[in-house]
């Protein structure tokens, strides 16, 4: 769980930093997007690295889901008879929504790929001009897309917050002081990442990027 999670988190960081290149202008952003396909050349043929990366990510996602499913099945098996009175929730919401949050994020990722990678669900869908696709996607009249992105990213934020804290714990964080630090670090990380992602759609919807 922690290993696959860390791979995905590293990808999320890189992806977010790349997204922010949108503020450097259309040419620069499109150039970046095309460069992604050329990483590794001339050692590797064009897009090979991209496919390697996609494979690793797919394996990580499947691994992550697989591990989560195993844990969930184990939990289910560990409590064959449910409580008649719903258990009261005492701890943070993030920890309690990992599973459903994960499913929502998965659905979002599928939509996101169809939208901005393959372009099938994008109003413009021009593979040569990712910048234009993004601008068209988050146009003010398509506010519901932005809303959906926002909700999905907030869900991701919750997922990351508990995921990051939990990774610290799984790797042996053990003192009360360390726990406070780990909780703060996880929160800051989750907020920074989600904030970084949200900058793009909000820049488009407010006209900052057009």
């Amino acid at each position: 769980m922690a290993v696959t999670g860390i791979i995905l988190v590293l990808f999320l960081i890189a992806h977010m930093l790349g997204n922010l290149k949108i503020f450097t202008g259309e040419t620069s952003f499109d150039h970046y997007a095309h460069w992604l396909r050329d990483i590794g050349t001339p050692l590797l043929p064009t897009t090979w690295f991209l496919w390697i990366q996609r494979t690793v990510l797919t394996v990580a996602v499947l691994g992550h889901i697989g591990a989560a499913t195993l844990l969930a099945m184990r939990s289910r098996a560990a409590r064959p008879v449910r409580y008649a009175h719903r258990r009261k929730i005492h701890v943070n919401y993030a920890a309690r929504t990992m599973r459903w949050g994960g499913v929502i994020i998965l659905l979002f990722v599928i939509y996101h790929i169809l939208d901005l990678t393959t372009g099938h669900l994008n109003p413009k869908g021009d593979p040569a001009n990712p910048y234009g696709n993004v601008v068209a996607d988050f146009a003010p009249e398509r506010w519901y897309v932005t809303l959906f992105y926002t909700l999905a990213l907030v869900t991701l934020g919750f997922h990351l917050r508990h995921g990051a804290f939990s990774a610290f714990r799984s790797l042996g964080q053990q003192t009360p002081k360390g726990e406070r630090r780990a909780r703060i670090a996880a929160l800051v990380f989750a907020v920074a990442l989600v904030g970084g992602y949200l900058l793009v759609p909000f820049a488009v919807i407010t006209g900052l990027v057009s």
Partner: protein, 250 residues
């Protein structure tokens, strides 16, 4: 005050079980929760019904025998309090109170609200001790223990083995119980020689008993009547990782 109780009734391990409603009248706020159940049972006996079976013994919050899920909370609404020390002043006239047994595959129901927690003993038997046969001990002062370590060890040693952590955990995990003993013994010099075999043995026994896995949610620590902190699980994880690495290396 007058209350409505909805209590899980189950004749035996094979019975399917069901919630049954019982009104109780004239409950004093000075009664403990278990005394309120005593009053109900006295009435049930005189009415020719079977009284509700529930585990209890010391009734002062230390033996860990009582084990009631009260309105979806292990040991009820008062933090840091076992069901036997919960008093009726925590409730109001007219309340409906749901009372269920701990729910976990590793804690099968024996009857009504009574469950079998033998799995916890098995976890301890798998390593939750220091091997120190009687008579072999050196003079007590030969090994000083820093006060901070002794205090922290005590904090974990305060576990009463009631199983509230398992009952409250969405995963049905017994990791807090396991981690409490591991933390106590791994903080003390006496616990060092068996530190890594202990953690492997206890975690394996925990998993074999059918408890769920820990996902660091923290409901266990919130439900724990003795305030065993969640970070004990971090210590368990660290010892477990080191132990696994040592085992792989050897």
């Amino acid at each position: 005050m007058n209350l409505t109780l909805r209590i899980w009734r189950q004749h035996g391990p094979e019975d399917k079980g069901r919630m049954v409603t019982y009104p109780v009248q004239d409950v004093s706020p000075d009664m403990s929760f278990l005394e309120m159940l005593d009053v109900l049972n006295e009435r049930l006996i005189l009415d020719g019904e079977e009284p509700v079976a529930f585990d209890h013994d010391c009734r002062e919050g230390i033996c860990g025998m009582c084990s009631l899920m009260i309105n979806g909370e292990a040991h009820g609404p008062q933090r840091g309090t076992t069901a036997c020390q919960l008093h009726m002043r925590q409730f109001s006239d007219g309340d409906t109170i749901d009372i269920e047994p701990w729910r976990a595959r590793a804690f099968p129901v024996v009857k009504d609200l009574v469950v079998n927690r033998n799995a916890f003993d098995q976890i301890i038997a798998a390593g939750g001790y220091v091997t120190a046969p009687t008579g072999s001990a050196p003079e007590a002062h030969s090994v000083p223990v820093p006060k901070a370590d002794a205090d922290a060890a005590f904090e974990s040693a305060a576990c009463i083995g009631c199983g509230a952590c398992v009952a409250a955990c969405p995963n049905g995990s017994g990791m807090l119980f396991t981690a409490a003993k591991i933390t106590q013994l791994s903080l003390l010099p006496q616990g060092q020689p068996e530190r890594y075999t202990r953690v492997i043995g206890m975690v394996d026994a925990h998993d074999e008993a059918g408890f769920g896995g820990c996902t660091n949610i923290g409901e266990c620590a919130a439900a724990c009547p003795k305030g065993i902190p969640l970070n004990t699980i971090g210590r368990l994880n660290r010892d477990y990782l080191k132990a696994t690495a040592k085992r792989a290396g050897s």
